[in-house]
Symmetry: C2
Subunit: 159 residues, 2 copies
């Protein structure tokens, strides 16, 4: 399913598709992809063997990265939906992270595919607040709260 | 100086030296290294070209990762200092992240070496609260607040 759904990151304009976490044009990146399931967005990611905190457990910085990119994708998907569009109907708008909070509830085992789910809890034209969870084998191991804002004009690739 | 100072991560026991962010034994990792400068700890890191949010700017997930590992190192260094030890006098104790909050104050330019500074603001035997900043070319671009706890017994490499 992951490969056939339309993910919000597939429709970032090329200039904004180089993110290490979710840019389809970053050949060394993580390639996080996020799509709707009802009122939630979902992403799935299998950490690489090197993504460990210690042998057997996933690195917290990776978990923060997955939450971050999935939340930005969620903000973009919600902005599209509010405008009456599905993912892929138009270029995905690019949000950036104003703040990111992650609570690590328990160690995340390294091995299983992780599921990242998110939901917009507050939204204006400029900003979205997003709650996210990360689960491994059906157990929530981390929770995130993220503030996303529309990319400022000054944050653009060099002309 | 970075290469000659004793960094707290240099003295994590081998079993706990595989972290993607700061493990000296993780050949694919970031190798964050933290040392004292007075009452603050310092780490320096130059992002790789692929560590971008978009061309010209550092990826927020990398910034969260740098703050995370530097804060765990700071908690370990503070535990050593409280016990009367300098970094390297004894194995560094291993802390893990209970929560991580990052405020992205402004875009971080990709190119310059980043400086991560931290300070312990509250500490018990089991736990430390740490404030951190990330600077690029002398400007603070992100601020972190981290809760570190002693590694739980159950979070250990497989025997």
């Amino acid at each position: 399913m992951t490969n056939t759904v339309k993910a919000v990151q597939d429709f970032y304009p090329d200039d904004f598709a180089h993110c290490y976490g979710c840019g389809r044009l970053n050949t060394l990146g993580l390639h996080v992809r996020s799509w709707w399931e009802g009122d939630e967005t979902v992403a799935r990611f299998t950490p690489r063997p090197e993504h460990m905190a210690m042998p057997g457990f996933v690195y917290g910085g990776l978990i923060a990265s997955l939450i971050d990119c999935h939340a930005m994708g969620t903000a973009a998907a919600a902005a599209l939906r509010t405008g009456g569009s599905a993912i892929g109907d138009a270029p995905s708008p690019r949000f950036v992270t104003a703040s990111l909070k992650v609570d690590y509830l328990k160690p995340t085992p390294l091995g299983p595919e992780l599921e990242i789910r998110a939901r917009v809890v507050e939204r204006s034209e400029r900003k979205a607040i997003i709650m996210a969870t990360v689960s491994a084998a059906g157990t929530v191991t981390a929770r995130g709260e993220i503030v996303a804002v529309r990319r400022p004009e000054g944050m653009a690739p060099p002309a």
